[in-house]
């Protein structure tokens, strides 16, 4: 087994930083015993910890997408006021609304379940009494059944979950955990594909809110829309009022584009993290995968999740 032969390499890798914490926690299982159960628990713990990180990143991204609706209402109200000949009389509540809360909530509910499944997998594999493991498995089984009923689940996932035994047998424990891990891996693959399919739509939504529906409207403003004394306070440089008006518009336009770019970058990082999670499951199911490859995938997941976590 390649894993068992790479102890020294693992110790060297573990000094590289906090990202290796996952690998060290997982290795604890191997030090306790050297049987198949230990190997399965190691892989399950690794998948559990990485899955939790990725699920949190996805949930964070959906929370940020939910906040876009508030920005849209503000920016549309803002534009309606600044272009109006009677700005003090504008009803800024009558603006467009993407009404995507239902779609976002559906996806958040799914990923909360995904997060719960990974937490249970980790709990199941990280030791404890047989009773704890049995309870964690039963809960994981129910969570996987719930996930397999989701629209995002493929026929393959449904089949894998339907074949899982409902109770954890002490004799077949390792095999059952491995099958549950594989079923979760298949779910991760489905969710990654769905995320990538929807990514262009979310990017469009972001561009609509920040650029097409808002920032483009700033271009129509002319010097007559500004108070020159106030403009001098916010626009710097040795320029006349018309140039300062242009520079102020440029600054506001840039801020909006940067906000859109930052959000889209976060969604792309989550996409990468989900893809790598599916890769990790595949590697963990394959006992001949070199440990260095598994560690590299874990690092990549940590890298993508860490960057996605930096809120725009």
């Amino acid at each position: 087994m390649v894993w068992a032969n790479s102890h020294h390499q693992r110790n060297g890798e573990s000094r590289r930083g906090a990202r290796d914490r996952i690998a060290l926690v997982a290795l604890a299982g191997l030090l306790v015993s050297g049987c198949t159960t230990s190997f399965t628990r190691t892989t399950g713990t690794q998948a559990g910890l990485c899955g939790l990180q990725v699920a949190d990143a996805v949930l964070g991204a959906y929370e940020d997408l939910r906040a876009v609706a508030g920005d849209n209402a503000y920016y549309q109200g803002y534009l309606r006021i600044v272009v109006s000949p009677q700005p003090d009389a504008v009803d800024f509540t009558q603006v467009s609304d993407a009404a995507l809360s239902v779609q976002i909530e559906q996806r958040i509910r799914t990923y909360r379940q995904v997060r719960a499944a990974y937490a249970l997998l980790q709990q199941l594999c990280s030791g404890g009494t047989a009773r704890d493991a049995s309870q964690a498995y039963a809960a994981l089984f129910e969570t996987l059944r719930g996930l397999s009923a989701d629209d995002a689940a493929s026929a393959e996932t449904r089949k894998m979950v339907s074949e899982l035994p409902a109770d954890l047998s002490s004799l077949l424990q390792a095999r059952q955990i491995a099958r549950a891990q594989s079923a979760l891996g298949q779910t991760a693959k489905d969710l990654s594909a769905l995320w990538d399919k929807e990514l262009p739509t979310w990017n469009d939504y972001i561009d609509s809110v920040y650029v097409r529906h808002y920032a483009a409207g700033l271009l129509s403003l002319r010097l007559s829309n500004f108070d020159e004394r106030e403009l001098n306070k916010v626009a710097e440089g040795p320029y006349g009022a018309p140039i300062k008006a242009g520079l102020f518009k440029l600054q506001k336009y840039r801020e909006a584009v940067q906000k859109a770019d930052s959000l889209k970058a976060e969604l792309l990082l989550v996409s990468n993290a989900l893809q790598q999670l599916a890769v990790l499951h595949r590697q963990l199911s394959d006992t001949v995968t070199p440990f260095a490859d598994v560690l590299s995938t874990q690092r990549q997941i940590g890298h993508y999740v860490g960057r996605a976590d930096k809120k725009p």
Binding site: Q94, S96, S208
Partner: protein, 115 residues
Amino acid sequence: MVDLKAELQEGTRSAILAYNMNRAQIVLAAFKEGGPEAVARLEDEFAALCNADFALERAALNANHRQYRHLLSEAAANCDLLHQSLIAVDSTADILDFMGKTVTILGRLLVMLTA
């Protein structure tokens, strides 16, 4: 085969961009022609156009429907007219007319999309 939905989305977005890039001028012209009520009508139609753009995105997140080819062509043609009108900063009455027609067709289309 031409992706009519993508064409419609592009047309709607072009119209939104064209309106927005001339928005202060169009709104001022409407105010001079018909006062605050004309401005409110115009801005409300613009909000409806933006809602239609959002609804197309929402529909992509829901399900794909394939029964709206004719409406798509009709709406795409209106988007073109609207776009041309906005670029030329035509009379606000014409803009309002095209915008209203486009929003109506988009509304019918969206009912089918979300059915």
